[in-house]
Amino acid sequence: MNATTFFMLIVRRQLLLAVRRPIEIANPLLFFLMVIVLFPLGLGPAPAQLATFAPGIFWIVVLLANLLTADTLFRSDFDDGSLEQLLLSRQPLYLSALAAITAHWLLTGVLLALVSPVFALMLNLAPSAIPTLMGALLLGSAVLSLLGGVGAALTVGLKRGGMLISLLILPLYLPVLIFGHGAVVASVGGLPVAPYLAILGAMLCLAIALAPLAMALGLRISVDA
Protein backbone atom coordinates (compact mmCIF):
# COMPACT_ATOMS: atom_id res chain seq x y z
CA MET A 1 0.00 0.00 0.00
CA ASN A 2 1.50 3.33 -0.99
CA ALA A 3 1.73 6.36 1.27
CA THR A 4 -1.03 8.39 -0.39
CA THR A 5 -3.54 5.56 -0.14
CA PHE A 6 -2.65 5.10 3.50
CA PHE A 7 -3.03 8.85 4.10
CA MET A 8 -6.53 8.75 2.62
CA LEU A 9 -7.33 5.61 4.58
CA ILE A 10 -6.57 7.35 7.87
CA VAL A 11 -8.56 10.46 6.93
CA ARG A 12 -11.55 8.31 5.94
CA ARG A 13 -11.24 6.23 9.11
CA GLN A 14 -11.19 9.30 11.38
CA LEU A 15 -14.15 10.87 9.58
CA LEU A 16 -16.13 7.63 9.69
CA LEU A 17 -15.47 7.28 13.43
CA ALA A 18 -16.70 10.83 13.96
CA VAL A 19 -19.81 10.30 11.83
CA ARG A 20 -20.67 7.20 13.85
CA ARG A 21 -20.71 9.34 16.99
CA PRO A 22 -22.16 12.65 15.74
CA ILE A 23 -22.12 14.28 19.17
CA GLU A 24 -18.31 14.39 18.88
CA ILE A 25 -18.71 16.59 15.83
CA ALA A 26 -21.35 18.76 17.47
CA ASN A 27 -19.43 19.25 20.73
CA PRO A 28 -16.94 21.90 19.52
CA LEU A 29 -19.74 23.78 17.78
CA LEU A 30 -21.94 23.77 20.88
CA PHE A 31 -18.97 24.84 22.99
CA PHE A 32 -18.29 27.62 20.49
CA LEU A 33 -21.89 28.83 20.67
CA MET A 34 -22.05 28.69 24.46
CA VAL A 35 -18.84 30.59 25.03
CA ILE A 36 -19.93 33.22 22.51
CA VAL A 37 -23.11 33.66 24.54
CA LEU A 38 -21.03 34.30 27.65
CA PHE A 39 -19.51 37.47 26.24
CA PRO A 40 -22.64 39.62 25.80
CA LEU A 41 -23.71 38.45 29.26
CA GLY A 42 -20.34 39.30 30.76
CA LEU A 43 -19.49 42.45 28.81
CA GLY A 44 -22.96 43.91 28.32
CA PRO A 45 -25.09 43.73 25.17
CA ALA A 46 -24.24 47.15 23.67
CA PRO A 47 -23.84 46.36 19.94
CA ALA A 48 -21.02 48.82 19.30
CA GLN A 49 -18.96 47.44 22.17
CA LEU A 50 -19.57 43.85 21.07
CA ALA A 51 -18.54 44.73 17.54
CA THR A 52 -15.21 46.07 18.87
CA PHE A 53 -14.48 42.91 20.79
CA ALA A 54 -15.95 40.46 18.26
CA PRO A 55 -12.70 39.60 16.39
CA GLY A 56 -10.89 38.92 19.65
CA ILE A 57 -13.77 36.92 21.10
CA PHE A 58 -13.88 34.79 17.96
CA TRP A 59 -10.25 33.89 18.01
CA ILE A 60 -10.12 33.16 21.71
CA VAL A 61 -13.07 30.80 21.40
CA VAL A 62 -11.52 29.08 18.38
CA LEU A 63 -8.31 28.62 20.37
CA LEU A 64 -10.19 27.06 23.26
CA ALA A 65 -12.33 24.84 21.05
CA ASN A 66 -9.21 23.56 19.33
CA LEU A 67 -7.43 23.00 22.62
CA LEU A 68 -10.33 20.97 24.03
CA THR A 69 -10.51 18.69 21.01
CA ALA A 70 -6.74 18.33 20.62
CA ASP A 71 -6.56 16.15 23.72
CA THR A 72 -8.83 13.55 22.12
CA LEU A 73 -6.82 13.39 18.88
CA PHE A 74 -4.84 10.23 19.64
CA ARG A 75 -6.42 9.24 22.95
CA SER A 76 -8.73 6.44 21.82
CA ASP A 77 -6.18 5.05 19.36
CA PHE A 78 -3.67 4.97 22.20
CA ASP A 79 -6.08 3.27 24.60
CA ASP A 80 -7.20 0.51 22.25
CA GLY A 81 -3.78 -0.28 20.80
CA SER A 82 -4.38 1.14 17.30
CA LEU A 83 -1.47 3.52 17.80
CA GLU A 84 0.95 0.62 18.39
CA GLN A 85 -0.23 -0.90 15.14
CA LEU A 86 0.30 2.40 13.34
CA LEU A 87 3.88 2.67 14.63
CA LEU A 88 4.61 -0.85 13.39
CA SER A 89 3.02 -0.32 9.98
CA ARG A 90 6.25 0.87 8.30
CA GLN A 91 4.25 3.66 6.74
CA PRO A 92 5.86 7.10 7.15
CA LEU A 93 4.60 8.31 10.51
CA TYR A 94 4.96 11.88 9.27
CA LEU A 95 2.16 11.33 6.75
CA SER A 96 0.01 9.35 9.18
CA ALA A 97 0.20 12.16 11.73
CA LEU A 98 -0.59 14.69 9.02
CA ALA A 99 -3.60 12.59 8.00
CA ALA A 100 -4.95 12.52 11.55
CA ILE A 101 -4.52 16.29 11.73
CA THR A 102 -6.26 16.78 8.39
CA ALA A 103 -9.29 14.90 9.70
CA HIS A 104 -9.21 16.91 12.93
CA TRP A 105 -9.04 20.16 10.98
CA LEU A 106 -11.98 19.17 8.78
CA LEU A 107 -14.04 18.35 11.86
CA THR A 108 -13.18 21.44 13.92
CA GLY A 109 -11.59 24.30 11.99
CA VAL A 110 -13.52 23.92 8.76
CA LEU A 111 -16.83 23.40 10.57
CA LEU A 112 -16.23 26.41 12.80
CA ALA A 113 -15.32 28.50 9.76
CA LEU A 114 -18.52 27.41 8.02
CA VAL A 115 -20.79 28.37 10.91
CA SER A 116 -18.81 31.50 11.84
CA PRO A 117 -20.97 33.92 9.75
CA VAL A 118 -23.94 33.19 12.00
CA PHE A 119 -21.94 33.90 15.13
CA ALA A 120 -20.36 36.96 13.52
CA LEU A 121 -23.82 38.46 13.00
CA MET A 122 -24.79 37.63 16.58
CA LEU A 123 -21.77 39.59 17.80
CA ASN A 124 -22.57 42.47 15.47
CA LEU A 125 -19.38 42.11 13.43
CA ALA A 126 -19.39 44.13 10.21
CA PRO A 127 -20.73 41.79 7.46
CA SER A 128 -18.01 43.00 5.09
CA ALA A 129 -15.42 41.37 7.36
CA ILE A 130 -17.01 37.92 7.22
CA PRO A 131 -15.12 36.56 4.16
CA THR A 132 -11.83 37.56 5.78
CA LEU A 133 -12.91 36.00 9.04
CA MET A 134 -13.68 32.72 7.31
CA GLY A 135 -10.44 32.73 5.33
CA ALA A 136 -8.35 33.52 8.40
CA LEU A 137 -10.21 30.84 10.38
CA LEU A 138 -9.51 28.21 7.72
CA LEU A 139 -5.80 28.98 7.64
CA GLY A 140 -5.35 29.66 11.33
CA SER A 141 -7.27 26.66 12.61
CA ALA A 142 -5.09 24.37 10.49
CA VAL A 143 -2.02 25.76 12.30
CA LEU A 144 -3.81 25.32 15.62
CA SER A 145 -4.67 21.69 14.81
CA LEU A 146 -1.05 20.96 13.90
CA LEU A 147 0.32 22.53 17.09
CA GLY A 148 -2.39 20.86 19.16
CA GLY A 149 -1.37 17.56 17.61
CA VAL A 150 2.17 18.02 18.94
CA GLY A 151 0.82 18.58 22.43
CA ALA A 152 -1.52 15.61 22.09
CA ALA A 153 1.27 13.33 20.89
CA LEU A 154 3.49 14.27 23.83
CA THR A 155 0.79 13.83 26.47
CA VAL A 156 -1.33 10.95 25.13
CA GLY A 157 0.47 8.41 27.32
CA LEU A 158 -0.16 10.39 30.50
CA LYS A 159 -3.21 9.78 32.63
CA ARG A 160 -3.93 13.44 33.18
CA GLY A 161 -2.87 15.01 29.94
CA GLY A 162 -5.85 17.34 29.63
CA MET A 163 -4.67 20.20 31.79
CA LEU A 164 -1.04 19.77 30.82
CA ILE A 165 -1.72 20.11 27.12
CA SER A 166 -3.08 23.63 27.61
CA LEU A 167 0.11 24.69 29.38
CA LEU A 168 2.23 23.20 26.61
CA ILE A 169 0.29 24.43 23.63
CA LEU A 170 -1.42 27.74 24.47
CA PRO A 171 1.81 29.78 24.31
CA LEU A 172 2.45 28.36 20.85
CA TYR A 173 -1.04 29.39 19.72
CA LEU A 174 -0.39 33.09 20.33
CA PRO A 175 1.01 34.10 16.91
CA VAL A 176 -2.11 32.67 15.26
CA LEU A 177 -4.29 34.63 17.68
CA ILE A 178 -2.39 37.85 16.99
CA PHE A 179 -2.43 37.64 13.19
CA GLY A 180 -5.85 36.06 12.89
CA HIS A 181 -7.26 38.84 15.03
CA GLY A 182 -5.24 41.40 13.08
CA ALA A 183 -6.74 40.21 9.80
CA VAL A 184 -10.31 40.64 11.01
CA VAL A 185 -9.63 44.03 12.57
CA ALA A 186 -7.96 45.21 9.37
CA SER A 187 -10.90 44.02 7.35
CA VAL A 188 -13.37 45.86 9.61
CA GLY A 189 -11.27 49.01 9.23
CA GLY A 190 -11.16 48.66 5.45
CA LEU A 191 -7.40 48.00 5.36
CA PRO A 192 -5.71 45.39 3.14
CA VAL A 193 -5.92 41.92 4.66
CA ALA A 194 -3.66 40.04 2.25
CA PRO A 195 -0.49 40.51 4.40
CA TYR A 196 -2.17 38.94 7.41
CA LEU A 197 -3.46 36.00 5.43
CA ALA A 198 -0.02 35.62 3.86
CA ILE A 199 1.61 35.46 7.28
CA LEU A 200 -0.96 32.92 8.47
CA GLY A 201 -0.25 30.94 5.30
CA ALA A 202 3.48 31.08 5.99
CA MET A 203 2.89 29.81 9.53
CA LEU A 204 0.81 27.00 8.07
CA CYS A 205 3.62 25.99 5.67
CA LEU A 206 6.13 25.93 8.50
CA ALA A 207 3.74 23.98 10.72
CA ILE A 208 3.01 21.41 7.99
CA ALA A 209 6.73 20.93 7.47
CA LEU A 210 7.74 20.55 11.12
CA ALA A 211 4.78 19.71 13.37
CA PRO A 212 4.21 16.16 12.01
CA LEU A 213 7.89 15.39 12.67
CA ALA A 214 7.48 16.43 16.30
CA MET A 215 4.23 14.45 16.45
CA ALA A 216 5.93 11.34 15.11
CA LEU A 217 8.66 11.62 17.76
CA GLY A 218 6.08 12.33 20.45
CA LEU A 219 3.93 9.33 19.53
CA ARG A 220 6.94 6.99 19.64
CA ILE A 221 7.87 8.31 23.08
CA SER A 222 4.29 8.05 24.35
CA VAL A 223 3.84 4.46 23.19
CA ASP A 224 7.21 3.60 24.69
CA ALA A 225 6.59 5.08 28.15
Binding site: V150, L154, T155, G157, L158, R160, G161, L164, L167, L168, L170, P171, L172, L174, P175, I178, F179, G182, M203, L206, L210, A211, A214, L217, G218, I221, S222, D224, A225
Partner: protein
Protein backbone atom coordinates in the same frame (compact mmCIF):
# COMPACT_ATOMS: atom_id res chain seq x y z
CA UNK B 1 36.58 14.87 19.04
CA UNK B 2 34.55 11.67 19.33
CA UNK B 3 36.45 10.53 22.39
CA UNK B 4 35.58 13.86 24.00
CA UNK B 5 31.93 13.25 23.18
CA UNK B 6 32.19 9.79 24.56
CA UNK B 7 33.69 11.08 27.80
CA UNK B 8 30.94 13.67 28.03
CA UNK B 9 28.49 10.81 28.04
CA UNK B 10 30.10 9.21 31.07
CA UNK B 11 28.57 10.28 34.39
CA UNK B 12 31.67 9.83 36.62
CA UNK B 13 33.85 11.81 34.21
CA UNK B 14 31.26 14.59 33.98
CA UNK B 15 30.89 14.64 37.73
CA UNK B 16 34.64 14.96 38.24
CA UNK B 17 35.27 17.57 35.54
CA UNK B 18 32.29 19.69 36.59
CA UNK B 19 33.63 19.62 40.15
CA UNK B 20 36.99 20.98 39.10
CA UNK B 21 35.40 23.64 36.87
CA UNK B 22 33.13 24.79 39.69
CA UNK B 23 36.07 25.05 42.09
CA UNK B 24 37.31 28.16 40.28
CA UNK B 25 34.22 29.29 38.34
CA UNK B 26 31.93 29.58 41.35
CA UNK B 27 34.11 32.02 43.39
CA UNK B 28 34.90 33.97 40.21
CA UNK B 29 31.18 34.32 39.45
CA UNK B 30 30.33 35.53 42.92
CA UNK B 31 33.11 38.14 42.80
CA UNK B 32 32.06 39.23 39.30
CA UNK B 33 28.39 39.59 40.29
CA UNK B 34 29.35 41.63 43.33
CA UNK B 35 31.80 43.80 41.40
CA UNK B 36 29.34 44.34 38.56
CA UNK B 37 26.58 45.31 40.96
CA UNK B 38 28.80 47.82 42.76
CA UNK B 39 30.01 49.24 39.44
CA UNK B 40 26.50 49.57 38.08
CA UNK B 41 24.86 50.88 41.22
CA UNK B 42 27.55 53.27 42.51
CA UNK B 43 29.92 54.24 39.72
CA UNK B 44 27.65 55.01 36.78
CA UNK B 45 26.02 58.38 36.11
CA UNK B 46 22.25 58.71 36.73
CA UNK B 47 20.01 58.71 33.65
CA UNK B 48 18.91 62.20 32.63
CA UNK B 49 15.26 61.14 32.38
CA UNK B 50 14.83 58.24 34.77
CA UNK B 51 17.27 59.32 37.48
CA UNK B 52 18.52 56.44 39.56
CA UNK B 53 15.63 54.05 38.95
CA UNK B 54 17.12 52.85 35.65
CA UNK B 55 19.91 51.10 37.59
CA UNK B 56 17.68 48.04 37.90
CA UNK B 57 18.69 47.25 34.31
CA UNK B 58 21.91 45.81 35.75
CA UNK B 59 19.78 42.94 37.00
CA UNK B 60 16.77 43.10 34.69
CA UNK B 61 18.57 43.03 31.35
CA UNK B 62 21.14 40.33 32.17
CA UNK B 63 18.41 38.11 33.65
CA UNK B 64 16.26 38.56 30.54
CA UNK B 65 19.15 37.96 28.12
CA UNK B 66 20.38 34.83 29.87
CA UNK B 67 16.83 33.52 30.37
CA UNK B 68 16.34 33.54 26.61
CA UNK B 69 19.79 32.06 25.96
CA UNK B 70 18.95 29.37 28.54
CA UNK B 71 16.08 28.19 26.39
CA UNK B 72 18.45 27.69 23.49
CA UNK B 73 20.92 25.84 25.72
CA UNK B 74 18.02 23.59 26.69
CA UNK B 75 16.97 23.08 23.07
CA UNK B 76 20.53 22.24 21.98
CA UNK B 77 20.76 19.73 24.83
CA UNK B 78 17.43 18.32 23.63
CA UNK B 79 18.68 18.01 20.05
CA UNK B 80 21.82 16.22 21.24
CA UNK B 81 19.72 13.90 23.35
CA UNK B 82 17.46 13.01 20.42
CA UNK B 83 20.17 12.68 17.78
CA UNK B 84 23.03 11.03 19.67
CA UNK B 85 20.89 9.48 22.43
CA UNK B 86 23.25 10.89 25.02
CA UNK B 87 21.86 10.57 28.52
CA UNK B 88 23.91 13.46 29.85
CA UNK B 89 22.10 15.77 27.42
CA UNK B 90 18.83 14.76 29.11
CA UNK B 91 20.38 15.67 32.43
CA UNK B 92 21.48 19.06 31.08
CA UNK B 93 18.02 19.72 29.68
CA UNK B 94 16.37 18.80 32.94
CA UNK B 95 18.86 20.91 34.88
CA UNK B 96 18.55 24.07 32.78
CA UNK B 97 14.74 24.36 32.79
CA UNK B 98 14.29 25.55 36.40
CA UNK B 99 17.25 27.95 36.13
CA UNK B 100 15.80 29.48 33.00
CA UNK B 101 12.38 29.72 34.62
CA UNK B 102 13.89 31.42 37.69
CA UNK B 103 15.81 33.94 35.55
CA UNK B 104 12.66 34.68 33.53
CA UNK B 105 10.80 35.22 36.77
CA UNK B 106 13.52 37.59 38.02
CA UNK B 107 13.34 39.51 34.76
CA UNK B 108 9.56 39.83 35.11
CA UNK B 109 9.67 40.96 38.73
CA UNK B 110 12.45 43.48 38.16
CA UNK B 111 10.59 44.67 35.06
CA UNK B 112 7.50 45.28 37.18
CA UNK B 113 9.53 47.10 39.85
CA UNK B 114 11.15 49.21 37.14
CA UNK B 115 7.75 49.90 35.61
CA UNK B 116 6.31 51.44 38.77
CA UNK B 117 8.50 54.62 38.82
CA UNK B 118 8.79 54.75 35.00
CA UNK B 119 5.19 54.28 33.88
CA UNK B 120 3.44 54.66 37.22
CA UNK B 121 2.06 51.12 37.11
CA UNK B 122 3.36 47.67 38.03
CA UNK B 123 2.29 45.97 34.86
CA UNK B 124 2.10 47.19 31.29
CA UNK B 125 1.23 44.90 28.43
CA UNK B 126 4.17 45.84 26.32
CA UNK B 127 5.95 43.61 23.87
CA UNK B 128 8.99 42.67 25.92
CA UNK B 129 7.23 41.97 29.18
CA UNK B 130 4.58 39.94 27.39
CA UNK B 131 7.25 37.96 25.56
CA UNK B 132 9.03 37.28 28.84
CA UNK B 133 5.76 36.08 30.35
CA UNK B 134 5.27 33.68 27.43
CA UNK B 135 8.85 32.47 27.84
CA UNK B 136 8.01 31.70 31.47
CA UNK B 137 5.03 29.63 30.32
CA UNK B 138 7.26 27.75 27.88
CA UNK B 139 9.71 26.94 30.69
CA UNK B 140 6.90 25.89 33.03
CA UNK B 141 5.52 23.67 30.27
CA UNK B 142 8.85 21.84 30.02
CA UNK B 143 9.06 21.37 33.78
CA UNK B 144 5.45 20.20 34.03
CA UNK B 145 5.86 17.75 31.15
CA UNK B 146 9.00 16.30 32.72
CA UNK B 147 7.28 15.84 36.06
CA UNK B 148 4.20 14.25 34.47
CA UNK B 149 6.14 11.28 33.07
CA UNK B 150 6.96 8.40 35.40
CA UNK B 151 9.62 7.03 33.08
CA UNK B 152 12.37 9.63 33.34
CA UNK B 153 14.11 8.58 30.17
CA UNK B 154 10.90 9.10 28.19
CA UNK B 155 10.38 12.37 30.07
CA UNK B 156 13.75 13.62 28.85
CA UNK B 157 12.96 12.72 25.25
CA UNK B 158 9.47 14.30 25.39
CA UNK B 159 10.92 17.51 26.84
CA UNK B 160 13.59 17.51 24.14
CA UNK B 161 10.89 17.44 21.46
CA UNK B 162 8.93 20.17 23.21
CA UNK B 163 12.04 22.33 23.64
CA UNK B 164 12.81 22.04 19.93
CA UNK B 165 9.23 22.93 19.00
CA UNK B 166 9.53 25.90 21.37
CA UNK B 167 12.79 26.98 19.77
CA UNK B 168 11.22 27.17 16.34
CA UNK B 169 8.32 29.09 17.83
CA UNK B 170 10.15 31.60 20.02
CA UNK B 171 11.27 33.89 17.18
CA UNK B 172 7.76 33.75 15.71
CA UNK B 173 6.17 34.50 19.07
CA UNK B 174 8.60 37.35 19.74
CA UNK B 175 8.08 38.89 16.31
CA UNK B 176 4.29 38.55 16.64
CA UNK B 177 4.24 40.13 20.06
CA UNK B 178 6.59 42.87 18.89
CA UNK B 179 4.33 43.62 16.02
CA UNK B 180 1.27 43.44 18.26
CA UNK B 181 2.44 46.14 20.54
CA UNK B 182 5.44 48.34 20.70
CA UNK B 183 5.31 50.75 23.56
CA UNK B 184 8.72 49.99 24.98
CA UNK B 185 11.86 51.88 24.17
CA UNK B 186 13.31 50.58 20.91
CA UNK B 187 16.11 48.07 21.34
CA UNK B 188 19.00 50.20 22.48
CA UNK B 189 21.93 47.82 22.83
CA UNK B 190 23.33 46.75 19.52
CA UNK B 191 26.64 45.12 18.99
CA UNK B 192 26.71 46.37 15.43
CA UNK B 193 25.91 49.91 14.47
CA UNK B 194 25.54 52.89 16.71
CA UNK B 195 24.60 52.44 20.31
CA UNK B 196 22.29 54.94 21.97
CA UNK B 197 23.37 53.98 25.46
CA UNK B 198 26.35 55.82 26.94
CA UNK B 199 29.53 53.69 27.25
CA UNK B 200 29.80 54.53 30.95
CA UNK B 201 26.46 52.74 31.43
CA UNK B 202 27.00 50.10 28.75
CA UNK B 203 30.26 48.58 30.01
CA UNK B 204 28.97 47.62 33.45
CA UNK B 205 25.86 46.22 31.75
CA UNK B 206 27.90 44.02 29.41
CA UNK B 207 30.00 42.99 32.40
CA UNK B 208 26.88 42.00 34.31
CA UNK B 209 25.53 40.04 31.33
CA UNK B 210 28.79 38.08 31.25
CA UNK B 211 28.57 37.50 35.00
CA UNK B 212 24.99 36.21 34.60
CA UNK B 213 26.15 33.80 31.91
CA UNK B 214 28.74 32.52 34.38
CA UNK B 215 26.03 32.28 37.03
CA UNK B 216 23.86 30.27 34.65
CA UNK B 217 26.78 27.92 33.95
CA UNK B 218 27.46 27.44 37.67
CA UNK B 219 23.82 26.73 38.46
CA UNK B 220 23.60 24.38 35.47
CA UNK B 221 26.63 22.38 36.60
CA UNK B 222 25.43 22.26 40.21
CA UNK B 223 21.97 21.13 39.12
CA UNK B 224 23.41 18.53 36.77
CA UNK B 225 25.59 17.12 39.55
CA UNK B 226 22.58 16.85 41.84
CA UNK B 227 20.57 15.15 39.07
CA UNK B 228 23.47 12.79 38.33
CA UNK B 229 23.75 11.78 41.98
CA UNK B 230 20.03 11.09 42.18
CA UNK B 231 19.86 9.15 38.89
CA UNK B 232 22.98 7.08 39.42
CA UNK B 233 22.56 6.49 43.13
CA UNK B 234 22.57 2.73 42.68
CA UNK B 235 25.84 2.60 40.75
CA UNK B 236 29.30 1.74 41.97
CA UNK B 237 31.03 5.03 41.29
CA UNK B 238 28.73 6.88 43.66
CA UNK B 239 29.35 4.32 46.40
CA UNK B 240 33.10 4.88 45.93
CA UNK B 241 32.54 8.64 45.99
CA UNK B 242 30.67 8.41 49.27
CA UNK B 243 33.37 6.17 50.73
CA UNK B 244 36.10 8.64 49.69
CA UNK B 245 34.35 11.63 51.22
CA UNK B 246 33.98 9.95 54.59
Amino acid sequence: MWSFFHKLGSPPWLYRISGSILRWLLPLTIVALFAGAVWGLLFTPPDFRQGNSYRIIYIHVPAAVVALAGYYVMAIAGAISLIWKMKMADVALRASAPIGAALTFIALVTGAIWGKPTWGTWWVWDARITSMLILLFLYLGIIALYEAYDNKEAAGKACAVLALVGTVNIPIIYKSVDWWYSLHQPASIKFTGESTIDPSMLYPLLFMITAFYALFTCCLLLNMRAELLSRERRTGWIARLVAESR
